[in-house]
Amino acid sequence: MGVAIFLRKLKFKLIFVGVGIFLLLVSIPAVALAFSYSAIRWWSTTTYVRYDSSVPDSWQSSGALYNARRAWNNAGSKFRIYYSSSSENVVKAGYYGKTDWIAKASINYNLLGYINQAEIIFNRSYPWSTTGASDYYDVQNIATHEFGHWLQLNDLYSSTDYYKTMYGHAKTGETYKRTLHSDDIAGIKYIYGE
């Protein structure tokens, strides 16, 4: 008798929880304002990255990659990207031809939208520099943008988004993406909390 009542109560509880979860999922906003978020995210707010041997030493010793991570780590959200030589998440570089993309972030995730593994790849068929030199793509400029994809902000293409780190095109000599725009900061805070 007691068990029957318990089961009935449990049934109501399950329905209640189910409806709750459903409402929660439905209420997650799909569209954000001045930044674009994919709804894919890391489960934890602390993530790790290592640098593959294909990455030129100068990109590390110059602080270009470190400064790119630091921009996001200092944005005032809970999110952190730390270096760990044993991380599955990796930054690589290679020669992929002048195929119109200068770098990319590949993010593997599960059905719930949580990221399992992430990779950033630089295309060295294009010229790179760590000093903002005029005919080269700036490593820190592009790395800051790519780490923005790491936390799963999307590209922006409107002309009004031009001076944001997440603007989806880049030019040689450009360095403004090194510094986060207030909308980039709003994006990371929105996803990972303050």
Partner: protein
């Protein structure tokens, strides 16, 4: 006794559902999103770089497949067939062109490439196309999403852009570069 069986059955069902969820969410899928950063290309640059430029309609989309080319943004790609009606640069003989786009869905992988041009069946488009670096008789969209314009009436709009321009004006800009 009946209650005991009910509890056991309930526990069994919960365990099976949890197991399925675990498998489906953590083990089975290889879902990937790829975000690139692109070389910025304006109309003159696109016009110079493209091997052919055309106005046409997307006739069909073929099933996605995989290759190991590292030049593409993803290992999964999808071909679409475009029927040209007018060329603005370097006309081709073939009545249909095969355009290869990065991303797509196969049995065990699902890849979405944010910066790639999107071409859906029935779309009326102006395309800047480059010869594929590897496959013969295959084209890619020059500058990825930058090389695709939707046509509606006398206006065109670049993918991701919110700015509409006159088709005539775009054609003139393309022509000017070639003269």
């Amino acid at each position: 006794m009946k209650n005991r069986i009910a509890i056991l059955a309930l526990v069994g069902v919960v365990v099976i559902i949890a197991g399925l969820l675990y498998w489906r969410t953590l083990i089975k899928p290889r879902k990937q999103v790829v975000n690139g950063i692109l070389v910025e290309m304006d109309i003159p640059t696109l016009s110079k770089k493209a091997d052919t430029i055309l106005i046409g309609t997307v006739k069909s989309k073929l099933p996605s497949a995989k290759d190991n080319s590292k030049k593409r943004l993803s290992k999964v790609y999808t071909d679409v067939i475009v029927v040209p009606e007018k060329y603005l640069k370097n006309p081709q003989d073939s009545p249909e062109l095969k355009v290869r786009l990065a991303g797509g869905k196969t049995d065990d992988a699902w890849v979405w490439v944010e910066d790639e041009a999107s071409l859906e069946r029935g779309e009326h488009v102006l395309l800047f196309l480059s010869k594929d670096a590897e496959a013969r008789d295959v084209w890619t969209v020059t500058g990825l999403c930058q090389g695709k314009f939707n046509i509606s009436g006398s206006k065109v709009k670049q993918q991701f852009s919110d700015e509409e321009i006159e088709l005539n004006r775009l054609e003139q800009q393309i022509q000017k570069v070639q003269d």
